[in-house]
């Protein structure tokens, strides 16, 4: 069965580039692109929601269904 991938929505206007989400993602899904965060490897996402939980700027949403 094919793994259903979540949708990671990044609101670039809110992101201040603090690196918290990039650093604490256990599977290294995110990366920094200039000053804002971007999705690098969506396939690896395990939907643990750590990035959404820890983003202090309300800039990441992990939409699972």
């Amino acid at each position: 069965m094919e793994k259903k991938l979540p949708k990671i929505e990044i609101i670039e206007k809110y992101c201040k580039g603090c690196h918290i989400c990039v650093e604490f993602c256990p599977t290294k899904v995110l990366e920094m692109k200039g000053f804002v965060v971007a999705v690098k490897n969506l396939e690896a996402c395990i939907k643990c929601m750590q990035c959404e939980l820890r983003c202090p700027d309300f800039a990441i949403k992990v939409i699972t269904d």
Partner: protein, 273 residues
């Protein structure tokens, strides 16, 4: 499904004023999740704050909010609670606002055991005013007013609150974001004065002066020093050296809260007529 924070936020207020990597945003998200779990009525909930970075929090949440004088959050909140005892009153502020400038109000609110929840975001420094040392700055650490290291011993907010008579005291950290909403929800449900201390990071005025290279390093420090209360029971005093206990540290349901006691006084006074 992603959590819908927008429902609780005032439209057009984001992005917020906090610096990149500041933990206050994480605490605000925790508070919103706690409010959502408890299904609090926004029209019947008041968030009161003083002055400071952490005290900017109520401005973003769409409920009854009050931004008051420096350190006087507890005093104003007492007024709100006495006028409307059915209201959920939540206070928030930083360590300088709560324990230095508002230290007196804080301990007396604890003593009265008035039914409110105080969320203290302890980032070890006065952030907004330029990085002066606060009563929570650890001994030897640098601030703009202590460039050679702080000579003073620091406050333990949780112990201070327990000593002053608060009936619910908990501690969390900005790193353990999952725990914040649970602690705050439990504190709001508790009838009596509840204190939730959240250890936070201030990369701009504290981290920079104390050789923390990045926000990540500060977050990792929070991860290292935090020990859950249950795990600490099995640890020796030596292992606990330099560690900070997290979780619910104190809970006492036996004491009656101030508004209940005050209602009894009103009843007695009216019966005499």
């Amino acid at each position: 499904m992603a959590f819908d924070y927008e429902k609780y936020l005032r439209p057009g207020k984001l992005p917020h004023i906090w610096c990149p990597g500041c933990g206050h945003g994480i605490v605000m998200k925790g508070l919103i999740r706690a409010m959502d779990t408890l299904k609090l009525d926004m029209k019947n909930t008041a968030i009161v704050s003083g002055i400071g970075c952490a005290s900017r929090l109520p401005g973003y949440i769409d409920c009854c909010t009050l931004h008051t004088a420096h350190g006087r959050a507890a005093a104003f909140a007492t007024g709100v609670k006495m006028a409307k005892p059915e209201m959920n009153v939540i206070l928030c502020g930083g360590d300088g606002d709560g324990t230095a400038i508002g230290g007196n109000h804080f301990i007396h609110a604890c003593r009265r055991n008035i039914d409110m929840t105080y969320i203290i975001m302890n980032n070890y420094i006065y952030g907004m005013t330029g990085g002066q040392f606060s009563p929570c700055t650890p001994t030897g650490h640098k601030a703009s007013t202590t460039p050679y290291g702080n000579p003073d011993p620091n406050f333990d907010i949780a112990k201070l609150a327990i000593g002053a008579g608060a009936t619910f005291v908990a501690r969390g950290t900005a790193f353990h974001a999952n725990q914040i909403d649970k602690l705050i929800a439990e504190a709001i449900q508790h009838k009596g004065f509840s204190v939730v201390e959240i250890l936070d990071d201030c990369p701009t005025t504290y981290g920079r002066r104390n050789k923390y290279k990045s926000v990540i390093e500060m977050m990792n420090r929070l991860k290292e020093v935090a020990v859950p209360v249950k795990a600490a029971e099995k640890m020796t005093a030596e292992q606990l050296q330099g560690k900070v206990l997290t979780g619910v540290l104190y809970k006492d349901d036996s004491k009656s809260d101030y508004t209940t006691e005050y209602a009894k006084i009103i009843e007695r006074a009216q019966a005499k007529k």
